[in-house]
């Protein structure tokens, strides 16, 4: 049973567009949601994270929108650049538990 789901396996956008990556989860106890960016041959790198008390978190060109009632969230990458081409993982955890549960990832390709 997949506790964290990412709806798209891959996504292609043009340079300058906004890429939108969707994620949903099942466990209502989850309260911490990081997004990780992974390039081929490297480990995942923490990109941005949100806690369930917030509905939006912004960091530069990256924004998380969070809907606790619907148990879903999305990552928006504004003004996408070719260097943003990578695989993005949505993950979740909860207070008292420290291990992350990851989705299956969305591979983003940004075409110049």
């Amino acid at each position: 049973q997949q506790q964290v789901r990412q709806s798209s396996q891959s996504l292609t956008v043009w340079e300058g567009e906004t890429a939108i990556l969707n994620c949903s989860y099942e466990n209502s106890a989850f309260d911490y949601f990081p997004w990780y960016q992974q390039f081929p041959g490297e480990g995942p790198a923490l990109l941005i994270a949100i806690r369930s008390v917030s509905d939006k978190k912004e960091d530069g060109r990256f924004t998380i929108f969070f809907n606790k009632r619907e148990k879903n969230l999305s990552l928006h990458i504004k003004d996408s650049q070719p260097g943003d081409s990578a695989t993005y993982f949505c993950a979740a955890s909860y207070q008292g538990g420290r291990a992350l549960i990851f989705g299956t990832g969305t591979t983003v390709s940004v075409s110049p």
């Binding site: 790198a45 955890s93 207070q95 008292g96 291990a99 992350l100 990851f102 299956t104």
Partner: protein, 114 residues
């Protein structure tokens, strides 16, 4: 500040052989995690430690996998008799403090079992 380091970066084995992976977490991080990442999938937790104590090893295939962190710093993950299904990247991560917090990953060891 140095990040999480792992070695080796690559390993190729025949089925039945043993292999060990080594991880050095970020200095001062008390929690260390081992994840398995099959190709084209997200990382999946195997085991994690708080200092030298195992907190959760329920996902570790105990008949063939073992992990230790004897002094609460570096850690070793060992596969006794590798199977083709163990082919994956093995990632180490570390974090500090109580509760769900920021985890920082190393580059991983890519294992191929022939």
């Amino acid at each position: 500040e140095a990040g999480v380091t792992q070695s080796p970066r690559y390993a190729v084995l025949q089925e039945g052989q043993a292999v060990s992976f080594w991880c050095d977490p970020i200095s001062g991080h008390d929690t260390l995690y081992w994840y398995q990442q099959p190709r084209d999938q997200g990382p999946q937790l195997l085991v994690y430690f708080r200092d030298e104590a195992v907190i959760d090893n329920s996902q570790l295939p105990s008949d063939r996998f073992s992990a230790v962190r004897p002094k609460g710093t570096n850690s070793t993950l060992k596969i006794q008799s590798a199977k083709q299904g163990d082919t994956a990247t093995y990632l180490c991560a570390s974090s500090f403090g109580l509760g769900a917090g920021e985890q920082y990953f190393g580059p991983g060891t890519r294992l191929t079992v022939l």
